[in-house]
């Protein structure tokens, strides 16, 4: 099966940051995303997720390597100062590369 190398960018952040994050993803050229409701623990303590106001999400986005770099840069610049947030990228190989082209 023919697969193509792309990047998976993963972002873990508080649920209330979802709307501006979704705007950022669209601006950066992502064609879609997948969102998980998660619980978490980190420097800001436990986030048990009973109330959306205090809950965490994980967002995963498949993008071309160039878009990944740009996305991470925008996150570091605009979001990190304001939100409890973790972001990383992973190498993946997808089917149907066209689906993810900006």
């Amino acid at each position: 099966m023919q697969t193509h190398p792309l990047k998976l960018v993963t972002i873990i952040c508080e649920a209330l940051a979802a709307p501006p994050l979704q705007r950022l993803l669209a601006e950066a050229g992502a064609q879609g995303y997948t969102l998980f409701t998660v619980e978490g623990s980190g420097r800001q303590g436990q986030r048990a997720g009973e109330m959306r106001e205090l809950a965490n999400i994980q967002v995963e986005v498949i993008v071309a390597p160039a878009v990944a770099g740009q996305l991470l840069a925008r996150l570091a610049q605009d979001f990190f100062p304001q939100f409890a947030m973790v972001a990383y990228e992973t190498d993946i190989r997808v089917l149907r590369q066209e689906k993810f082209a900006p």
């Binding site: 209330l16 501006p20 705007r23 303590g45 436990q46 997720g49 009973e50 106001e53």
Partner: protein, 328 residues
């Protein structure tokens, strides 16, 4: 007056609602693994807001819009102006960053529906009548302070990144179509259109079990507030004092305004409670979207872990005792 107060207090502290809240606090402090699923939290919120709005709407259709309009406008104005003194207080006495001061001011001008509901139950428990359309005050007080707060905050900031840079239109959209305001106002409209005939159909669901549902919800609120208690040290003594004293002042203001607007003892109590209460649902959501630079610990912790417990345990009976005293 002292015996009034003591009596009012004891009538409140031994109700299921307040005791279940205390149980939730205890669970959090003793680190029990008790936890409500998020879906249950949301469900209880949807139920309480819908039921409240619907009942209020039916009451408005009975009382006529004319009766409701004047006190509702007064309530709305009170909500909108509160940030105007809370902001400088936080900024210059509390020495908080401008954007944090604006966010906190928005929370204290806005209102807490659950505090309001607890107050109506308290009044029912001691057989004090109130204007049933008082829900309308809650509905109109939620958004104005949020809008004022966001504007104060935006003015204090330089250029924000574009993703947060909502126009006034967007801020308004958020403040008015956010789920809690939308549900409350929407259910109010539905109730107003259905009137008594509609109420007959849904009363066994929206009215009869209401107090029990509130008790369950306050158990959950106790858990949530209890988990926040450990953040109190991050918040500092000024904000803790602020979170008790400002509500006291606002409660007195609200009671006086209610009396001036011709409300009954019960109605004036409710307006006092609304003024004293601080938002912890609509306002935080609006802040994360429009003023993400503000620090959530500074607005959520005082309103959830200090003001909310204070109001449902001591505030409500105090404001009632005041309204009762003034009325004689």
């Amino acid at each position: 007056m002292t015996s009034d107060i003591l009596h009012a207090l004891s009538a409140n502290l031994l109700t299921p609602a307040v005791l279940f809240f205390a149980l939730g606090l205890a669970a959090a402090l003793l680190r029990s693994d008790l936890k409500f699923p998020e879906a249950l939290y949301v469900t209880l919120t949807i139920y309480l807001l819908t039921a409240l709005g619907f009942k209020g709407g039916v009451a408005i259709s009975e009382a006529g819009l004319r009766t409701v309009l004047l006190p509702a406008l007064a309530a709305m104005a009170l909500g909108a102006v509160i940030p105007l003194w809370a902001y400088p207080l936080l900024r210059y006495v509390g020495r908080l960053r401008p954007v944090d001061a604006a966010a906190i001011a928005a929370h204290y001008g806005s209102v807490s529906a659950v505090t309001f509901i607890t107050a109506t139950n308290y009044l029912k428990g001691i057989n004090v009548p109130y204007e049933p359309y008082a829900t309308a005050f809650l509905a109109v007080m939620e958004s104005p302070a949020i809008i004022v707060g966001v504007l104060l905050g935006k003015m204090s900031l330089g250029r924000q990144p574009a993703v947060f840079n909502g126009s006034i239109g967007k801020v308004l959209h958020e403040a008015v179509l956010g789920r809690s305001v939308f549900l409350l106002v929407g259910a109010l409209l539905v109730g107003a259109l259905c009137g008594k005939a509609g109420m007959d159909k849904v009363e066994p669901f929206f009215v009869t079990p209401f107090q029990g549902v509130l008790a369950l919800f306050l158990l959950e609120m106790g858990l949530v507030a209890g988990r926040r208690l450990q953040d109190l040290k991050k918040v500092g003594p000024f904000l803790v004092a602020f979170a008790v004293l400002l509500p006291l002042v606002h409660g007195v203001l609200g009671v006086l305004l209610g009396q001036a607007a011709g409300l009954s003892v019960g109605g004036a109590t409710l307006l006092g409670v609304l003024a004293a209460s601080a938002s912890y649902i609509a306002a935080p959501a609006a802040m994360r979207l429009s003023l993400p630079e503000a620090n959530p610990a500074l607005y959520l912790t005082p309103s959830l872990a200090v003001t909310f417990p204070f109001n449902i345990s001591l505030g409500i009976p105090l404001f009632y005792a005041l309204a009762h005293h003034l009325h004689r």
